[in-house]
């Protein structure tokens, strides 16, 4: 929410680039099983995709791309997702966060753990995205008190 940058080149470039950076972040979250990446790095990339328009575009546009209520909402949903995934194995008789205890028909225990890792990574990514965007929004808001 810094405001509109004077150069049109910068504005257009950042508006075009921002969705692709966010998409790259989602790719990093999804690709964490097979290479470097995972929820933490991917969430940060999505947050960068949201911060870039806030740095260069007018407030109206950047808030339409990534509205400010998204940040605390995503953080809360991500943390809740992580916690709920941890609780599901307890219903199946296992320990907290022990995904292998859940029995899904036609799936080996290792496959269930694979899926559990994916869901946890998505939760972590959402939480990190929300936290980073919220910190940035809070630091750059203009009409503070005092």
């Amino acid at each position: 929410m810094i405001g509109s940058y004077p150069s049109v080149v910068v504005r257009v470039t950042s508006a075009l680039l921002s969705p692709f950076i966010a998409m790259f972040g989602i790719y990093i979250i999804a690709h964490g099983h097979y290479g470097p990446g995972g929820g933490f790095a991917g969430g940060v990339f999505v947050a960068v995709g949201a911060i870039l328009p806030r740095l260069t575009l007018p407030e109206l546009l950047s808030f339409r791309l990534f509205p400010p209520w998204l940040a605390p909402t995503a953080g809360g949903i991500g943390l809740l997702l992580f916690l709920l995934v941890g609780l599901v194995p307890m219903l199946a008789g296992g320990a907290f966060l022990d995904y292998g205890a859940v029995e899904i028909a036609g799936m080996a225990a290792s496959r269930v753990r694979y899926l559990g890792i994916l869901i946890v990574e998505i939760g972590v990514g959402l939480a990190v995205f929300g936290a980073m965007l919220l910190i940035f929004d809070v630091l750059t808001q203009r009409d503070g008190d005092a």
């Binding site: 097979y34 470097p36 995972g38 980073m132 910190i135 630091l139 008190d145």
Partner: protein
Amino acid sequence: MIELFLARYVYLFVLLLLAIGLYGVLAKGDLVKKVIGLTIFSTAIYIFFIEGSLQEGATAPVIDERGSDPALYVDPLPHLLILTAIVVGVGVIGVALSLLVRLYRVHGTLDEAVIADRIAGREDMSQETTPDDGTAPSAGDDPGAAGDDQ
């Protein structure tokens, strides 16, 4: 001598970085510079951990077609610990910076000594017992500045 350097140089450089960071946190009067020193200090600790995970002849801990022999891959546990530590470090920086912005809105400066003087001068005029903890050693020994501020 060369052998010793090759086996130990990481510790030497990490130690120097730690010293620079510690000096920045303790000696700098500007609060943003203090946070920068904190970042340098914590990053030096990250480097220490990650260099400790290194093994001769090992590659990144992604299991490939060579199989699951642990000797082929570097130790992944420090990677995990530092990965989360980096993210938490950024959270710490975010909270520190928001506190800085708040302090600046109230006091109009980021000079630690001025802020400490002002807080001490407001709470008790004798200035002998500052409510601050040990981070502000110059709060009590500079009565002139507090007098100017009030």
